[in-house]
């Protein structure tokens, strides 16, 4: 068979080749940098999407590879396996891994100053404080069980008086009344519940003594040594993205609708709600990601309540000083 290229096909190929530089692949002297997100593409990562779209990473000399997360993705595993250079985690699991398994992690920043995880219930059967949980059924993602147990302990509620069942991230059982409350991101689920025709009420675990960060920025000690310059560049560009995004939480989600958010099955209104709700949890007078000494001490104290002996040395604040 004779293989020939007609003109139209040829032009098509040229066109495809021409788009390549737009994808950042040909950007000169850019260093590849892999970022593992902790969840599927939603407003939780709006700052990174914005920084990528506006070319902040490219300006900083990085060629960003963005890896989406999900319920089964263990972000820490990606950096141990060398698939990603930097990731976002929950500090309790990260520090548990450092202490119990000698995992070589360093926490170098925190996206959420206050953990958005809370207890969500229906307004018609409200649970407004930990004591209200006595005698109720609470759905908890297995990963968060220790956080919830800590919060109960700190609030003086006997663990045996709360019926804890697994939560699979679907609010249907809550809306139908099969469970009384669930543990989820308070920035997200109340919107869904409202869509289903119910009113939600919620409180943060943070406000009842479990004072930890969330989406802590984590790298391995080895990467921190080898790629410190790139890590600083990444944090700088991401901070810029977040600052721009939080100026008006309703402004940017729609620009991601056909790109980052495509095919996630979530509505734009949901993302705007999320983006607005997370603003006070992220913002920080010392600059986004900053970890103050008081906040670190609060984390260490809260984790001690669950039997995780966090130390100051697990947190490294020097990287952000260079941003």
């Amino acid at each position: 068979m004779h293989l020939s290229l007609n003109r139209r096909h040829f032009m098509g190929l040229m066109g495809a080749a021409a788009t390549m530089p737009m994808m950042g692949r040909m950007a000169s002297a850019a260093t590849p940098f892999n970022f593992q997100a902790s969840w599927i593409n939603d407003a939780e990562f709006a700052g990174y999407f914005l920084a990528a779209d506006k070319g902040y990473y490219k300006e900083a000399g990085l060629e960003l590879e963005y890896l989406s997360g999900g319920p089964d993705v263990i972000p820490e595993s990606s950096i141990i396996a060398g698939k990603a250079d930097l990731t976002l985690t929950t500090p309790d699991t990260t520090i548990k891994a450092i202490v119990e398994q000698g995992a070589p992690f360093k926490i170098i920043g925190a996206q959420y100053q206050k953990n958005p995880i809370g207890i969500v219930s229906l307004a018609k059967n409200p649970i407004k404080q930990p004591k209200d949980l006595i005698g109720k059924t609470l759905a908890v993602p297995p990963v968060n069980v220790i956080s919830v147990e800590a919060m109960l302990k700190i609030s003086g509620v006997d663990r045996a008086q709360v019926n804890i069942v697994p939560y699979a991230y679907d609010p249907t059982p809550l809306i139908k009344g099969e469970i009384d409350a669930s543990v989820d991101f308070t920035t997200n689920v109340p919107f869904t519940i409202k869509q289903a025709g119910e009113e939600a009420t919620s409180f943060l675990l943070y406000d009842f003594g479990f004072t930890i960060f969330n989406d802590t920025v984590v790298v391995t000690e080895e990467t921190l040594k080898a790629k410190r310059k790139e890590i600083v560049a990444f944090l700088k560009a991401s901070r810029k993205g977040w600052e721009e995004n939080l100026k008006d939480p309703a402004a940017y989600p729609k620009t991601f609708a056909d790109t980052w958010f495509k095919g996630t099955g979530r509505s734009l209104e949901n993302e705007v709600y999320f983006n607005t709700a997370q603003k006070p949890l992220i913002e920080n007078a010392k600059g986004i990601y900053s970890m103050s000494e008081e906040a670190i001490a609060a984390n260490i104290e809260a984790l001690a309540a669950v039997g995780i002996t966090a130390k100051r040395e697990h947190f490294d604040t020097t990287v952000l000083e260079e941003v």
Binding site: A103, P142, G265
Partner: protein, 536 residues
């Protein structure tokens, strides 16, 4: 009664599972749909958690822009895995059928592959490979065992008389294989491929949950879970089911075309040759090698892939974690507590699933139309990702033992049913004609001919059911009850307790292998008495 006998006597109906050929099947399906619509519309099930078919369709239409990319992505992973997994499975099946030594050596590895819990290995695959590879591997693993054992079954059940004819004319091993055995095995292989097709789709979707990729029905499902929109979840699940159903239909059609020429007309008068076991010493050596092989492969794979030691535990690493490390006592306590919850449920669920499959397979011989209208429902239970159904199941059945039992029955039932129905369908017509000539009713035919003749298939189905039952229990524990091994595995993943993840995977494989061996011992005893050959 007279019409029933006439129905049962037509050769068409003894096969039973080939598709919607009769109006009665269509009628039954229509009744089911209308019933479902009423249940959904009037919110009669679980306070409206079961959406009506029209609601699902409307949602599907408004989501239509999302689907093509997701379906294409899942199709790519599933079909590539299907091709690779089944290709390897057929080759391995031929090797095991031809060489009894290879079969005994490979037994440990085969069962280990079948018993690998996808929920445990999916995160490990995702870390070790990138892009589509985890999906392809999981889809291929889902296909391998079913097709491999179907191939061995088919070849080992070859009519000895045909082999004798080829041998008498000087045919060698290859000629026997080419002229007789592969042809004789074709219906069994095709039945295997039929079961493998939904397994490949499900394998790809399971890997998508953990893969972090943006497209694929599994990824779409994860994104939609938090939306409390059952109509969307059912739409995604039914899209997955439709993919599996099309593949299932294609192989059913091919099978229907090809098996007409391979069905035995008369009964073989000579019993199949009895496998020589060799000396005691060689038996022990081969058994030990068969046990060692999975461990060697496990260790080698990790060395070759170079996965970091913290994530990838070698056999020595797991031993250290469970017996030597300072945390060993705590690990043992947690493991034993979980086993105490999981094991009893596994046994009960398996027994119930098998009983159900056996009854339905018998019903398929007597009344094929029941089965035709039931098959789509059974297929849905295979390919509907359980994550999508969990909220509904929990609302219907609560979070107690009954939800574990139902999920376990639903995952063990289908492969057991296909194996059994196929065994009943392969019963020689001559033997049936004898009892029919004496005016036997369909039930007498079953009792005297079909059930005894299908014994090897019953044991094969039992062996298939063991690891699946364990998996079903673990999935239910993980999603609904928060108990047992399933919960331990999920929690360990969250806590980065890689030692426990590997321990649970290894222990679940060991349990499956143990049960499997028990079934084999009973099977050998029963079948040798009757002069039969084990299926696979």
């Amino acid at each position: 009664m007279a019409t029933e006998t006439a129905l049962g006597a037509s050769p068409e109906t003894t096969r039973g599972t080939t598709g919607f050929r009769h109006w009665s099947a269509l009628r039954n399906a229509a009744i089911l749909l209308v019933l479902w619509e009423i249940l959904g519309r009037f919110k009669l099930v679980a306070g409206g958690a079961l959406p009506a078919p029209t609601e699902v369709l409307i949602r599907f239409w408004s989501d239509r822009g999302d689907y093509p990319a997701h379906i294409l992505s899942t199709f790519q992973g599933a079909s590539l895995g299907f091709l690779i997994g089944n290709g390897l499975a057929i080759l391995a099946g031929i090797l095991f059928a031809v060489s009894p030594v290879a079969a005994r050596l490979g037994r440990g590895l085969n069962v280990a592959i079948f018993a690998l819990p996808p929920i445990a290995i999916s995160p490990i695959l995702v870390l070790t490979f990138s892009g589509m590879t985890p999906r392809v591997v999981l889809a291929a693993l889902g296909c391998y065992f079913v097709t491999m054992s179907a191939t061995v079954t088919g070849i080992s059940q070859t009519d000895r008389r045909m082999l004798d004819v080829v041998r008498a004319y000087g045919g060698g091993r290859l000629a026997l294989l080419r002229l007789v055995e592969i042809r004789a095995a074709l219906p069994a292989i095709l039945a295997g491929l039929r079961v493998a097709a939904p397994a490949a789709v499900l394998g790809s979707i399971l890997a998508e949950f953990g893969g972090g990729g943006r497209f694929g029905l599994g990824a779409y499902l994860i994104g939609s879970l938090g939306r409390a929109d059952p109509a969307r979840l059912w739409g995604i699940g039914l899209a997955a089911t439709a993919m599996a159903l099309i593949a299932y239909g294609i192989f059913s059609l091919i099978e229907a075309r090809l098996t007409r020429s391979t069905r035995a007309i008369t009964v073989a008068a000579t019993p199949p040759g009895i496998r020589s076991e060799g000396s005691l010493l060689s038996t022990i050596a081969i058994t030990l090698a068969s046990i060692a092989l999975p461990f060697i492969v496990w260790w080698l794979l990790l060395k070759i892939l170079g996965t970091p030691a913290m994530i990838a535990k070698t056999p020595a690493g797991v031993f250290d974690y469970l017996f030597l490390a300072p945390s060993a006592t705590s690990a043992q306590t947690r493991l034993l507590a979980a086993l105490g919850q999981t094991l009893p449920m596994t046994l009960i669920g398996m027994a119930a699933g098998l009983a159900f499959a056996f009854l339905l397979a018998l019903a398929s011989v007597v009344r094929p139309s029941i089965v035709r209208s039931f098959m789509p429902v059974a297929l849905v239970t295979q390919t509907m990702p359980l994550v999508a159904l969990t909220p509904l199941l929990v609302l219907l059945l609560g979070r107690g033992p009954s939800v574990i039992l139902w999920i376990t029955i639903s995952v063990t039932f289908f492969p057991a049913f296909v194996t059994l129905a196929q065994g009943l369908g392969m019963v020689s017509r001559g033997a049936l004609d004898v009892v029919r000539a004496y005016g036997a009713s369909p039930f007498t035919q079953l009792r005297l001919v079909s059930i005894p003749a299908s014994l090897p298939y019953l044991f094969a189905a039992m062996r298939l059911a063991v690891p699946r039952a364990l998996l079903g229990v673990m999935i239910a524990e993980w999603l609904a009850t928060g108990t047992g091994l399933g919960n331990l595995l999920n929690q360990s993943r969250g806590y980065l307790d890689y030692g426990m993840i590997w321990t649970v995977a290894v222990v679940s494989v060991l349990i499956s292998v143990l049960f499997y061996q028990i079934v084999i011992v009973i099977e050998r005893h029963v079948l040798q008495k009757r002069g039969m050959q084990p299926a696979a």
